[in-house]
Symmetry: C2
Subunit: 189 residues, 2 copies
DNA sequence: CTAATTATGAGACATTTTGTCTCATAATTA
DNA sequence: TAATTATGAGACAAAATGTCTCATAATTAG
């Protein structure tokens, strides 16, 4: 990506606007992310918000894609404890209002907004692929014998975490994480 | 619940409004459920919509609670095939835009609207409890030896289905369902 | 250092939306 | 048949939306 050498004033405005929009999404939900309120909160002029993002929905999308969720990066051997740490981090972050708001807004927004749907597909594909890479790594090291494809494994691991945090609004304890990992294949250790 | 003997005109309006609101939620998302648009689509007067639901968010909530999801009702013995059928039905329904829209709007809306949060808690508690009843039934029949609590079992069963349909936007095949059921305990059959 | 460029905030402006009325009318009920 | 009541149409003020212009200040080019 070529980033055009941006005028520092524009960069400042852009950043202030994105921050305010994120703040509004957090506090009051996506419906609160309007040009007017973002202008108020960010301290910028209303026209400036319109200049940078003519449509509010695009701003919201940028807020969400801007908050990238760094999960399951850089697998380490042995894979099991690494996977446990990643799932723990995922569970912990999903309890943070910031992350939950972005994640659930992406999930729901994909139903009607193709742009958001693409964003979601990107995130999910990344997660699925990273989990796949990690599990293959574990299998090559003789650490596990896989019982599911990468996408199935991702569903088996992440699905329950999501359900527990977003639906049951409860904590994911380490026992549950262990149980999830157990059921993705047969571990030799 | 005492239902006040309602004027047929009011009942008709109410029904038309709810239908239109559901339709709008489906087609364009919760942001489209405004008094004005609902009035247009339903063919009722704008004032009538305001009379019945002074706040649009309340109307949206009624739309969602009105669409009740009849899952995991009335467990049958043997439990395993019944559980399989229920999960299949859940997966199939979650692929319907109607159900997905309501479900995901509830999930996301609970972050900011306490009323929606209560609604979600009710749904989830019902599902968890029904799954729990079914699994205890199976255990008493010697069909399975449980390896998880009711809420854990619900997360293990429903979580992956939700992740596969809502996030990976893919089909839940019967093999996956079997695998899910397998991992909720040790089955004797 | 100076001059040209450019993003900004303030605000004007027409348009649309929102929320609250009133009122004549038609459906319902007593 | 007469009284009640929900409705649609529309008036109305207030707020929000989207698009302008313009003077100003920050930035950049020369």
């Amino acid at each position: 990506m070529m980033k055009a050498p941006l005028d520092p004033r524009a960069a400042r405005s852009r950043e202030a606007i994105l921050t305010a929009a994120r703040q509004l999404l957090l506090a009051e939900g996506p419906a609160a992310v309007t040009h007017q309120r973002v202008a108020q909160v960010s301290g910028t002029g209303r026209a400036t918000v319109y200049r940078h993002w003519p449509r509010a929905e695009q701003l919201l999308l940028d807020v969400m894609t801007g908050t990238d969720l760094p999960f399951f990066r850089a697998p380490q051997s042995p894979v099991r404890p690494w996977l446990h740490r990643q799932l723990r981090q995922l569970a912990d972050e999903l309890r943070l209002p910031t992350v939950a708001a972005v994640a659930l807004t992406v999930i729901q927004g994909s139903l009607w907004d193709p742009g958001i749907a693409r964003s979601r597909d990107g995130m999910i594909a990344a997660i699925d692929e990273r989990i796949g890479v990690a599990l293959v790594l574990a299998e090559r090291a003789g650490e596990v014998e896989l019982g599911a494809s990468a996408t199935d494994a991702a569903a088996l691991l992440v699905g329950p975490v999501l359900y527990r945090t977003a639906m049951q609004s409860g904590r994911v304890d380490d026992d549950l994480i262990d149980r999830l990992i157990d059921r993705v294949g047969t571990w030799r250790t």
